[in-house]
C-alpha cells in the first residue's frame, strides 16, 4: 500500500513538481495551499504524513503544527523551511513534529521521513 501524504505549501509551482516526483515514487499525494485548508483535510482524511512549509500566509508552521497535533495527536508532521536553526528544530520537535527539513530538500531524505512516519502508525 502506498504512503498517503498531504503536502502543504503556498508555492503552487513547488507543489506541482513535488506531486509529480512523489507520485512517481508510488506515493498517494494530496495538496493544500494553506494551513487552514490542510487542517480541514486532516479532520476528514487519514494521512501517513503531513509535509508543511514553515512560513505560510496567515498561519505559521508553529501555529499549524499545534493545531494539527490538537486535532490529530498521532499525526506525523514534517516541516519544510527555507532556513532552519538548531533552536528552531528543537522547538518544533518538542511541539511534536517528526522533523524539520531545510529547503531545497533532498527527496530521498523526505521519502525516508515519510517511511518513518508510516512505521509509527
Amino acid at each position: 500500500m502506498s504512503a498517503k501524504v498531504l503536502l502543504v505549501d503556498d508555492e503552487k509551482d513547488f507543489l506541482d513538481i513535488m506531486v509529480e516526483r512523489m507520485e512517481a515514487r508510488g506515493m498517494d499525494v494530496s495538496t493544500a495551499c494553506s494551513a487552514e485548508d490542510a487542517l480541514k483535510m486532516v479532520q476528514t482524511e487519514s494521512y501517513d504524513a503531513v509535509i508543511i512549509d514553515f512560513l505560510m500566509p496567515e498561519m505559521d508552521g508553529f501555529s499549524a503544527l499545534k493545531m494539527f497535533k490538537k486535532s490529530r495527536p498521532d499525526l506525523s508532521v514534517i516541516l519544510l523551511t527555507a532556513n532552519v536553526t538548531e533552536e528552531k528544530r528543537i522547538e518544533v520537535i518538542k511541539l511534536g513534529a517528526l522533523d524539520v527539513i531545510e529547503k531545497p530538500a533532498d527527496l530521498n531524505v523526505l521519502t525516508q521521513k515519510i517511511e518513518e512516519a508510516r512505521a509509527r502508525k
Binding site: D13, I17, R21, L55, P57, E58, A82, N83, K103
Partner: protein, 220 residues
Amino acid sequence: MGWKPEIITETGLQFFGRISASISHEIKNVLAIINENAGLLEDLTLMADRGQPIDPSRLKIMAAAVQKQIGRADGILKNMNRFAHSIDETAADVDLNQTIEFVKALTARFAAMRNVSVDLQLPTSSLTIPTAPFFLMNLLCLCLDFAMSASGDEKRVELAVAETENSAQIRFQGLAGLTEELLKTFPSDREKNLLAVLGADLTVEPEREEIVLRLSKNNV
C-alpha cells in the same frame, strides 16, 4: 539633534536584517523549485536508462519552469542590490513614487504572509524630495507594517501620495482596525527617531482610519 544615534543604528540594522532575511527566504523557495526540476530530470534520465523514452514536450515544460524561477530570482536579486546600495548616500534627491513602489516590492512577502493587499495611488508626475534614502525606506516600511496590522477585516491598505507647496504627503488609508491597543504602540521610539532624522511629521487619524506622513520638499 532631536534623535538618538543608538536608536537609529539599531532600527536601521533591524530593517536591513529583516529585509535581507526575507530576500534569502524567497531565494531559497526559488532554489527549492529549481532543485525539484533538476531532481525530476534525474528521475527521467534514470527511467530512460531503463528503456522508457523521455518525452521532449516534458523537457520543454521543465525548461520553462526553470527559466521562470531564474527570472523570479533575478528580480529578487535586483531588488536586493538596489536595497543594499540605498545606504551608499546619506542624503540624495529621490523620486518618491519610485521609492514607494520599491518599498511595496520589498514588503510584498510580508503583505502576502498577512493576506493584505497594498494598493498605490501615485501622482502621474514624478515627485522628487531631498532625503536620506535608507531611512526614508525604513520609515515607510515601519508605517506600512503598522498599517497592515491595522487594516482590519478588509485587509487592504492604500498608499495615496499628494504634493503640497512645501511637502509630500503619504496617506496610509483603509486602517479600519485601528484600535486603542494599536494606537498605544505607534509611533514608537523607532518611528519618532526616524521622523526626527528625516525632518518629517506623522499624524495618526483614527476617525479617518489613516496615518499621514509629511515629508519636507526642502530639507533633510
